[in-house]
Structure formats: structure tokens, C-alpha cells
Amino acid sequence: MPEIEIDGQLVQAPEGATIMEVAEQLGVYIPHFCYHKKLSIAANCRMCLVQVEKAAKPVPACATPATNGMKVFTHSSLAVKAQQGVMEFLLINHPLDCPICDQGGECQLQDLAVGYGAGASHYQEEKRVVFHKDAGSLISMQEMSRCIHCTRCVRFGQEIAGVMEFGMANRTMHSEIVTFLGRSVDSELSGNMIDLCPVGALTSKPFRFAARSWELSRLPSISLHDSVGANLTVQARNHRVMRVLPRENEAVNECWISDRDRFSYEGLNSPERLTKPMIRVDGQLREVEWSVALDYAAHGLRDIVARHGADEIAALAAPWSTLEEMHLLQKVVRGLGSGNVDFRPRRYDYAPSGVPAGARWLGMRIAELNELDTALVVGSFVRKDIPLFAQRLRQAAKHNGTRVTLISLGNDDPLMAMHEHVVVAPSELPAALARVVKAAALQCRVPVPAGLEAIVPDIPSEAIATSLRVRGRSMIFLGRVAVQHPHAVQIHVLAQHLSDITGANLGFFGDSGNIVGGYLSGALPSARNARTMFTDPRRAYVMLGIEPELDCHNPQLTLAALRQADLRIVLSPFISEAMREYADVLLPVAPFTETSGTFVNAEGRVQSFKGVVRPLGEARPAWKVLRVLGNLLNLDGFDQESSEEVRDAVLPPETLIDGEFASGLDNGIKLPIDPAALVSAKGVFERVADVPIYFSDPLVRRAPALQKTRDAAPPTARMSARTLAEAGLVAGAPVRLRQESIAGSGEAVLTAALDDGVPDGCVRVSAAHPATAALGDMFGTIQVEPV
């Protein structure tokens, strides 16, 4: 290890470290703009010039390796003069009107100009003007004259997001940051460039000019949108959330968050917020006092139990509910004597035994994603399902040579180097995985598991099996599609076999925010699950935090069951049109920013948070509402004083690993392979349903800026050229889609679109959107006809 001296302090520098890195480690601040620890070195701003003994010229600290015996002076007069010289150049063309700049008060240039800038400008020439640009609904490029050309945004696109949304056009003083041929800038990670931009050039469009940074409170929170559990800083003013920023946690989200995490807060202030309890009187919803609504709910539930038995009650929690909420909900249901409770509304297929070996989880820590040698991802639109896992895999593939393979239902570009990318129809997904299992068994010379007799490995499956087998640390991940698939259990069983054969571990990405928390909360069915509670309709339903008409696997089936029920109690932060139609009791509960609670992320990390603003209107934290309901129902065990008390009952602190990870996580499954699952559909069109990133939950669906992005375009019926021809369709023409289920026939009319990334014979129709809510199962047979 080289030993170097910085401002008189001796320090051991890690091999290959730059002066900047060593200084950072030492706590010595060297001014900088273009340097960012997660990005490649550009060395273009020159703000970090320091003096090095025996060097004729000042050197950029960010780009100069620390070598043994080096003596660095960061504040010598030579260094400071160099820094001041650069600052003068940076400011000559910069509009010096910080008071009207949105970045004012949180601007690196402003901060450093105070330290290194002169009192007055010597620059008497005309300033450069850079025209504004339209980058879509998330990022404002209104003030591009402020850009200091550090290229952080450009490098972020190239290196982190995997898509270069910004580039630097032209030379000289005329260099400017432009979007690619005027396209909108809204990859699922684009918002991070707002944070990276050291000046007010790239700013948040929704937040722009809404508040000054010093007027805002900053409180920690956790994102609910996916199983990463990204750490957030939520900024509020007057009890209104104004902005969400990443809170750095290297082990979880690093310094990034997805655009969904960042901009969904707009939904918190949606006009569709439910702010008063309501009950249905004479067919009409009426606003009532909390006590009246709760009495009504308790009375109704008791009445159903008394007249029809507790088994007629079913409850479904959104998987983005807190651990505490889910726990208390199942406690109410079980207290009443019912076992019909679940938190997995998009699941279709459930293991027969009911209760799994343990909570289904990632199978390792999130940070280990970067260190894998091989990753096989089965059934995931990974970039849009879990942007930050995709980001980590992208880095792993790039820097670590990780071989990433995707077996998926569409060839959406994951923007990373792929070892193999196998695209199959939904009904072929189990067989595609089975081929890998068999190839692995043959390669490892172990008995081929029973049930795979008819399976014939092909070239890709051989290559995938080899990649899992031959080198270092391997993982098999089951993504959202894999757990929402009609043969989800068989896919799991096959993955378990593959794991047993190859030694690769098995993990679940998790198809929603608090999925691991759901398993741990006890909200698992002991009778009917999230599907059978609707196929076998009940008389009373309790819905928590969910819009079943959009968030269930088969909305048509769910709606039919809700419509025939006698009592429908909805605890929700929002009121939807559908709820107005079916709800009997509407209880306004607090979204995550207005309540305390706990999310457990994919790696089992238990992350509790507090409310950052007070509940809107008469909304109340759901855990409190459920506690009161339990008491009104005279049930035992509803006297918790705080959400922490609820949490500690579910996850006793002494059971946590390292004080922060839940125990009791297990992905194991022991069931025979069912050859019937390995037969692909013939002679029918199959539906492929993704859950578009900005339709994935009630909050994000109500965030206006996100709803204006490309990813929020209304669903179309996407088909390959061949499928279009087979169905007698042309792209752009309307198409009638029909799906049958036990609830009857559901229909939607969409526009046919050409997408050769969709497997032949399949129609990609997104779920979770009102335009497709009338259809049936996410992956079932679908009829297609011209209108």
C-alpha cells in the first residue's frame, strides 16, 4: 500500500486509489464538480486541482493516482490559486442570478463560489445563452445556460442507466447538453441525473419553483414500490410532501432511486385521496364520523359471522402494506374465525400445502448481486419490474464479468450484456426452465429428475446450465412473471431442482414492495388464498390498500365476487370509481408518508420508518384503525400502543440477524415435477401481461408527471408481424380482445401494435390499467379479432 501525505497527514492509500479518494477517506475536502464516486473519471471540470510536491503543474486530484511518497497540498497557495482560476472560468458564462434559480441554496457551484469565487466579475463580454430543451415530464431543461459541462449526466446514462439519454453536442463554448434527437428523458432511472447535476441545469420538473430547499423538512423513509426498499429522504412543508430524494445506503439502493420511487409522491396529494370515512346508506355513499364507520364495519362483520359463519369472510392486503398492517389484518380475520386472508393479489398458482417453508426472499443480500459470477433470471421484465436490481446486474456484467441470463416473455432490452436471452410464450416458460434442469442434470451426470423424460435440452439451455455450473457464485432468480404465472409452483419446483443440481442458490426478486414482510406478518391463508377467495365467492370482503379491480391477477373475477358480496369494507388512502360502485364501508387510511410502519425488503432487511407528515384530512394510520376494529369486535390482543410494539411482536428483536435482517427466510420447496405443466398451449393465442412500471400500485397510478412518460402510455395489443397476420390484423387498427373465466367473458378494445419482441402466438396486453381491467387472467388464452 502506498503511503502518501495530504496536507501533512500521513495515510496508507488503497492500491490504485486516486488522491481524491484518499482525501475523502481522510476527511479532507477537495472541491470538485465532475468527480462522482459512482461514475467514471472525466477530469474535465478542473476544480480539484491540487499541488503535488515536485510536480511542475497542479494536478487534478480526481484523476491522479496516489503513489508512494507523494506529498499533496490541497490548500497551498498554488492549489488555491489554481482552484480560484477554474472557478472564475466556470462563472464567466454562468448566470449569476442564484436568487431566481431553482437550485439556489442546494447548488454545489453556489457553495464553492462562496469559497473560491471573486467578489466581482472581470468578465465584461456577453454571456453564452443556451436554449432550453424539452426532456419530457420529469426533468426540466429550462435553464441550460447554467450547465457547467461536467458530463455527470452523460456518464450516468452511459454507465449506470445503460442508456445514453443525454449527450454533449458541439465543441468549444458552444458545447451543450442535448437529449438524443429530442427524445424524452424518462428511463426508469433518469431522475438521478437531477441529483447528479451540480447546478440548476437539470431540475425536477414537478418540484421546480415549488419550494426552497431550506424551507423543507427532511425525514427518512422507505420506498414501497418494489422489493429493493430504497431508502428515501422525504421533504415536506406545511405537512405536504414536496419532494423525495434518495437517502444513500450502499447496501440497498447505493445513492440511487428509481423514478417511481422519486416522483410517486405526487400521488400523495391526489384529488382522489380519501379523507373522510364513508358508508353506504340506501345505496349512496355518505361521509360519516369514524366511530360510525367503524361501528358499521364491526357490526357488519359480526353479523356475517353470526348468520353465515366466519368462513364467509375474506381479507386481502396489498403487498405494499406495512408489516404491522398486514399482521393486524390477519389477526382480525383469524380472531373472527376465518382463515381466508392473503397479501398476494397477483398470484394465480399456490402450493397445495398452503404455508411455505419460510418467507420467499432474494436468497442473499442485495449488495451481493454485484459479486455474482452467474445470474439466471426467470420470468422478469427486470428493468421495469425492479430498476435497481437491473442496475446492479448491469454493473456486475460490466465490471465483474457476471454472466446474466434472462428467460422471459418478451425481448425488452435489459440494457446490459446478456449471456443468453431466451424469449418464450407464457405456456412455454416451465418447459424452457425444464430444459435447463435436464441439461444441467446430464452435464453433472446426476439422475434426471422424474417428470422430465420428454424434455429435450437445446443449445441455449445447455449454455445456461453450463454457466450456472462451472464458475464461482451462481444464483437462480424467480421474477415477477414467475410467481404470477399459472404454473408458478412448478416453476419454483423446477428452479429448486436446478439449484440442487448445480449448487446455484435460489432467490425471489419479489413482485412487490413488502412481499417478504407479508410472509413474515402471518397474513398467509390457512383457508382460501388470494385467488380462491374470489373463485369461491365469499359474503364479506375486507380490502386493505389495494384497488382490486387493477391489482388482482384476474380483475374480472375479483369484481364479480365483490359485486355479489353482502359486505365490502375498504381501507384505502384513495377512492376510485370502482370503489364508489362496490364499497359499503370506506375507511381513509394513511399512505406510507403519514404512518409509521415497517417494510422488509427482498434481502430480509427490516426497515421501519415514521410518518413524515400528518395524515391528510381524517385519514388515520391503518394499524390504528385495525386495532380499534379488533377492539370493537371484542377480540383479544389489540392493545398495542405503537406500531413498534406490533412489529416487535411479529419480529422479536432477538430473532433478527445482525439486528437488521429477519430470520425465517426459506425458498425451499419439495414437490414432484408435474409433466402436465410442461406442455405448451397449442392453437390458441396467449396473453402476456406485464405490470407497467407506472401502473403498479395505487400511489404511482396517481402521480401526474410519471403518468406523462413513455412507460405510462395506454396499453395496446402488441403482437409480432406473424401473429398480426395470423389474426388478420394490421398494426394501428382496433382489435377486440376477449378472455373467458369462471366469472364469465371479459372484453376490451385496444389498438393493435407491431412488436416483434413478443413471442409468436402471443398478445402482449398490460395489466393494471382501466383499459384492460375488464379482461381476465394475466397469462391465459385470449381471443383476438378485428373490430
Partner: protein, 442 residues
């Protein structure tokens, strides 16, 4: 070939026919003998480098770095692709020698590259030719085809186990792409922007592989070093300044053009060869090494010999060997304005001091030239050049600053006069008398 004159020519010897660029013509002049000799005499790569070191050939691209030493930095034994690049981007104002070498003697460049590749263990080569003169690119492609067909380039060259693939690559007219690392980016298909060094190209060059970049003239000299021997090549020049050199003489001379003379030839001789100052006027100043080199006043210049050391002693640089001659009709403010405009337009815009500084310099000088200078301007110019020099990623920042500093140093009175009197010290009619533009239209 357009060499207008020479003394003891080596690089341009025998280039008087109109088919000198053909393989047959080159061979008849002794071409590819050096390459053949390597295999006939079993010269090792080490032998070749030793010979080049002996010749004290210094890079003709501008920096004058000893070529043999540069070659020895290449990790020859490292497995994998290694690259050799010929820099024919030739964008420095005043420089027009490489284009004549390429059009008159392309096979010398090819032979030089193959020998250099052999010495460094390079596996692939590119000749990066600027896009402004398209015919050069086409001609080089043709010459390459000839060389390939004759077995001088490609697999198992001349039946040996040495293979070297060589390609032509054209630029598109950005001066900065002549800077070696910007050139590498450009070949990789990216925007031509210099890379920060270290790492140096010898360890992390084209596509991240070890790479050496040499100027066209540098490489064209190599076959002659082997054929005449390193010592003889050195002696053809002057101690520490080996060999002959092509000088592009431009400006106020009677016969502007390329001249090949031994290193160490007196400037006065070169000036005479170029027909002397136009119109018999008085010499005012000379930029001896391309637009980036500091300007040298006439009396000082007349004492110089044309080699790295002598010009350095006069406070300037031999650079690429572009000699820009200015007579007494020249307004030095106007001349500097034009130079500064060039750097302002050609800065790649990457690093702050150069992007912002070159523009600022130009705007001030432009103001002074247009009678709007203020007394503080000279002070500001001086200060800005100090803040640019040595603070940038590549040498363009220095290149833009040195003319400003030297013009101010030697011709400060003209600048002051401009600021005080809002007009030129050199009367306009005198300037016009010295201008082809005005004399042609008169």
C-alpha cells in the same frame, strides 16, 4: 510532389515523377529494402529500436519526443492486440507537409509503419487521415492495396511469421482529433475528445490496448534510418536533432511551400530558399513551429538554426515545422485575433479552462482589434493564459495561450497603441499593401 526546394534530400529524394506514389516507383528508389533487410538479416525488434534510438529521430508531430524511446515503452511481450497509429490529421495552422508526403510517398509511410509495428510487436495499424483532402485517403487506400498484394502488409509479411494488418481511417476536420488520445476516441467511433493521461496510450490506448501514435513524417523517416543507418541519419541533421526535416513555409514569402533541409540549417537559408520576404519588405516576425508555437521577432529569428534546440533557445518551439513568416505590413493584433479565433473554435469544450478561457481570450482580443479595448485587457489576457496553461486535459490549452503570451511579450506596444488610439500601429494602407486579398482586388 510539391517540395519547392531541398538540401541533401532524404525523405523527398527522387520524388519528381508523377507516379512516385506507386509501389513500383518506390521500389525503384530502394523502397521496402529496409523491411526486407529485417528478415534477411534476422534483425530483432530490439535491434530496430536501437537503430532508431541511435538516429535521435524526434517526433515530427509537434512535441519532438524521441521516437526510439517512445517505442521502447510498448509492452511488446504482452499478449493480445497492440496498435500502431499514424497521425495524418495535420490540422495545425501553417502545417502542410504530411499531405505532400502522403500524396508523393505513401509507401514510405507504409514501410515505416510495418517496421515500427515489427519493432513494437503491434498487430494492427491505422493511418488516421484528415477528411479535408479526400484524395489523400483514396490514394493511401490504393497504396495499401498494392502493399498488401505484394506481401508487405498482412499475414506473414515477406514469408516471415510476423503479421500486421494496416487500415486507413479518415477523420472529419476537427483539429482536436490530431491530439493523440482524441484521435483514439475518434477511431473508436466516439466524439473526438482527449483523454486524461495517465493512463498513457502505451498501456491503455485504442480499445484499451497498448498503442503507439506517431506522426506521418516520423514514420516516413524510419525506412531511411534502417537503410542508411542510425548514425548516418543523425549526422544528416545535427547532434540531438537527427535527420532531415520538412518545413512548411507560409506567409509573406515569395515561394510558400514545403522544403526539406537538414536539421540545423540556418533560418536565413530557409528563408532564402523560399524566395525571401515578399516584395522585398522587412521581416517582422516568424512563428517557427505551427500556430501553437510562440512568435519570434525577426532579429532573434535570423540568428536561429532550424532545429529543436536552437528554436527552444529563442523561446519558441520547432513544433511541426510550420514556418509562418510575417513582414512589416502585419498588424500583430489582427494576427493574434485570427490565431485566437482558431483555438476558440477548435477547443473540444471538455475542460473548463480551455472551453471558457479560449473564448474569453478571443473575445478580448477581438475587442482590442475593433477599437474597444480597455487598459486592463492586457493584464487580464496575461492572467487568463496563466490560468489556462498547465491546467487542462490536453495541450490545446497551452497551444492557445502561448501565442497570446508571446505576442504580448514581443509586440506589447502594438496592443497598447490599439487600446489607446483605437486603431492599428501599422497603418491600414500599409497592411493592405501587404495583403494578397487587397492587392488582388485592387
Amino acid at each position: 510532389m510539391a517540395v519547392l526546394g531541398s538540401i541533401n534530400p532524404i525523405l523527398t529524394a527522387g520524388l519528381d515523377g508523377d507516379r512516385t506514389w506507386r509501389l513500383a516507383d518506390y521500389v525503384s528508389r530502394g523502397g521496402y529494402k529496409s523491411l526486407r533487410r529485417i528478415f534477411a538479416d534476422n534483425l530483432t525488434p530490439g535491434d530496430v529500436i536501437a537503430e532508431v534510438k541511435k538516429s535521435v529521430l524526434r517526433g515530427r508531430g509537434g512535441a519532438g519526443f524521441p521516437t526510439g524511446l517512445k517505442w521502447s515503452f510498448m509492452p511488446r511481450a504482452l499478449p493480445g492486440e497492440k496498435y500502431l497509429i499514424c497521425n495524418s490529421d495535420e490540422g495545425e495552422p501553417g502545417t502542410f507537409k504530411d499531405r505532400d508526403l502522403l500524396s508523393g510517398n505513401p509507401h514510405a509511410v507504409i514501410e515505416g509503419m510495418v517496421i515500427a509495428a515489427y519493432a513494437m510487436g503491434a498487430t494492427r495499424g491505422y493511418n488516421y487521415i484528415h477528411g479535408e483532402i479526400w484524395s489523400l485517403y483514396e490514394r493511401f487506400e490504393e497504396a495499401l492495396a498494392e502493399a498488401r498484394a505484394a506481401g508487405f502488409v498482412g499475414q506473414n509479411i515477406l514469408g516471415s511469421d510476423f503479421s500486421f494488418e494496416l487500415f486507413a481511417h479518415h477523420g472529419y476536420g476537427a483539429y482536436i482529433c490530431g491530439e493523440e488520445t482524441a484521435l483514439l476516441e475518434s477511431i473508436e467511433g466516439k466524439k473526438g475528445q482527449p483523454r486524461f493521461k495517465p493512463p498513457f496510450p502505451a498501456s491503455f490506448g485504442l480499445y484499451g490496448q497498448p498503442t503507439t501514435i506517431n506522426n506521418t513524417e516520423t514514420l516516413a523517416s524510419v525506412p531511411f534510418i534502417l537503410s542508411m543507418g542510425g548514425d548516418a541519419f543523425l549526422e544528416a541533421g545535427k547532434a540531438n536533432n537527427g535527420g532531415p526535416k520538412l518545413f512548411s513555409v507560409s506567409g509573406h514569402v515569395n515561394r510558400p511551400g514545403n522544403y526539406e533541409v537538414p536539421m540545423g540549417t540556418p533560418f536565413s537559408t530557409l528563408l532564402e530558399m523560399a524566395g525571401g520576404v515578399r516584395g522585398g519588405r522587412k521581416l517582422k516576425a516568424v512563428i517557427p513551429g505551427g500556430s501553437s508555437a510562440p512568435v519570434v521577432p525577426a532579429d532573434l529569428m535570423m540568428e536561429c538554426t532550424m532545429d529543436y534546440d536552437s528554436i527552444a533557445k529563442a523561446g519558441s518551439m520547432l513544433g511541426s515545422g510550420a514556418v509562418i513568416v510575417m513582414d512589416e505590413t502585419t498588424c500583430m493584433v489582427r494576427a493574434l485575433e485570427r490565431l485566437s479565433y482558431f483555438y476558440y473554435e477548435e477547443s473540444c469544450g471538455q475542460c473548463t479552462p480551455c472551453r471558457e478561457g479560449t473564448g474569453w481570450l478571443y473575445k478580448i482580443i477581438h475587442r482590442i482589434e475593433n477599437g474597444q479595448g480597455v487598459p486592463e485587457d492586457l493584464e487580464t489576457l496575461q492572467r487568463l493564459t496563466g490560468n489556462i496553461m498547465g491546467r487542462t486535459i490536453c495541450a490545446l490549452g497551452d497551444a492557445a495561450s502561448m501565442p497570446v503570451q508571446s505576442f504580448l511579450k514581443h509586440f506589447r506596444d502594438e496592443f497598447q497603441y490599439h487600446i489607446e488610439h483605437r486603431q492599428c500601429l501599422v497603418p491600414v494602407d500599409v497592411q493592405r499593401a501587404g495583403s494578397t486579398f487587397f492587392t488582388a482586388s485592387a
